[in-house]
């Protein structure tokens, strides 16, 4: 069954309402402090609580405190790539110009958070597993995600005509989204060294509430921080493209030549 053309058109017009750069910049400027300040406060609260006040694990000792950085980073690595895939659909189906600019800006932030996830995972793995790295399904699929981010960053800037870069990168983002369920279910589908999820949508968490609260706060804070960073970078990108358009406008160049 296919979606009706009216629904597609209505959705398109909804998204295009925010394709207007002026409207987006106005909305973005209003939204920015509401994302940035709660992100700073919640992240400091969550990480401070996790680092100094939450209990050590009976088995892992204090190394469990790495969880308050590692778990939000892992969640956001996948969520960031899902956002790239959404931008890809908006770009390919509705040719939404802001989706392309957002995709350019999500890539580097997503790659950084994935690198943080891999690095903190290694730093947690060394004292617990006795090794920095194993070619286990979860770790390998996250490494593939990191390479997908790097590929996206490279591809989107690889063409002289930006539109071709946007199209190619959008296709890569959609194809790479296959990795997301593999990351999620890798610990169930294969026998991995990585532990299974402690928090699921269907069951009760297998973690004490004294650890769950700081984890929730740091996850919320870091997620808001990710959104704030992407918003700030996209606002800057919109302004930069406006600057480019103004500088390359023939009327302006003629005026300067005269």
């Amino acid at each position: 069954m296919s979606a009706s053309p009216t629904l597609v058109a209505r959705t398109g017009s909804f998204f295009h309402r925010y394709a207007n750069p002026g409207r987006f910049l106005k909305l973005g400027a209003r939204l920015q402090p509401w994302l940035t300040w709660p992100a700073i406060v919640l992240t400091l609260l969550g990480l401070g609580w996790g680092l100094f006040f939450s209990p050590a694990d009976w088995q892992q000792g204090d190394s469990v405190r790495i969880m308050y950085v590692h778990v939000p980073a892992a969640m956001l690595a996948s969520a960031g790539y899902a956002a790239l895939a959404v931008c890809a659909v908006l770009s390919l189906v509705w040719r939404h110009p802001l989706a392309d600019l957002a995709a350019v800006e999500i890539g580097p932030v997503g790659a950084c958070i994935t690198a943080l996830c891999l690095a903190t995972g290694s730093l947690w793995g060394k004292p617990m597993w006795g090794t920095w790295w194993v070619w286990d399904a979860r770790l390998t699929s996250v490494l593939v995600l990191f390479f997908l981010y790097l590929g996206h960053i490279t591809l989107i800037r690889a063409f002289d005509d930006p539109q071709r870069g946007y199209r190619a990168a959008a296709i890569l983002a959609l194809a790479g989204a296959v990795d997301l369920p593999i990351i999620k279910f890798s610990v169930q589908w294969w026998n991995t060294l990585h532990q299974p999820d402690s928090i699921t949508l269907t069951g009760a968490p297998t973690m004490s509430s004294s650890m769950l609260w700081p984890l929730g706060l740091s996850t919320l804070g870091i997620s808001l921080g990710f959104a704030a960073l992407v918003l700030a970078r996209t606002r800057a990108a919109v302004m930069e493209s406006r600057i480019q358009a103004l500088l390359s406008s023939p009327r302006r160049n003629q005026g300067n030549a005269a």
Partner: protein, 65 residues
């Protein structure tokens, strides 16, 4: 605290990465806002792009005078 170096490295890495990204975003926003304001007031002259080493001309090269 057990495993202190690993914990310190994790939190330090998170701090450095978030500060770098935040400062970069703030600097880009500030620069873009200032340049756009200058341009809209008509005070900024177009910047000539630096010559590229490649032999093949790009699509943008043909537009510049």
């Amino acid at each position: 605290m057990t495993h202190l170096p690993y914990i310190a490295a994790s939190y330090g890495l998170a701090l450095v990465l978030s500060l770098t990204l935040a400062l970069n975003a703030a600097w880009r926003l500030k620069t873009a806002r200032a340049r756009l304001a200058m341009l809209e007031r008509g005070n900024l002259r177009p910047v000539q792009p630096a010559p590229r080493p490649e032999a093949a001309p790009s699509s943008t090269d043909t537009q510049t005078p």
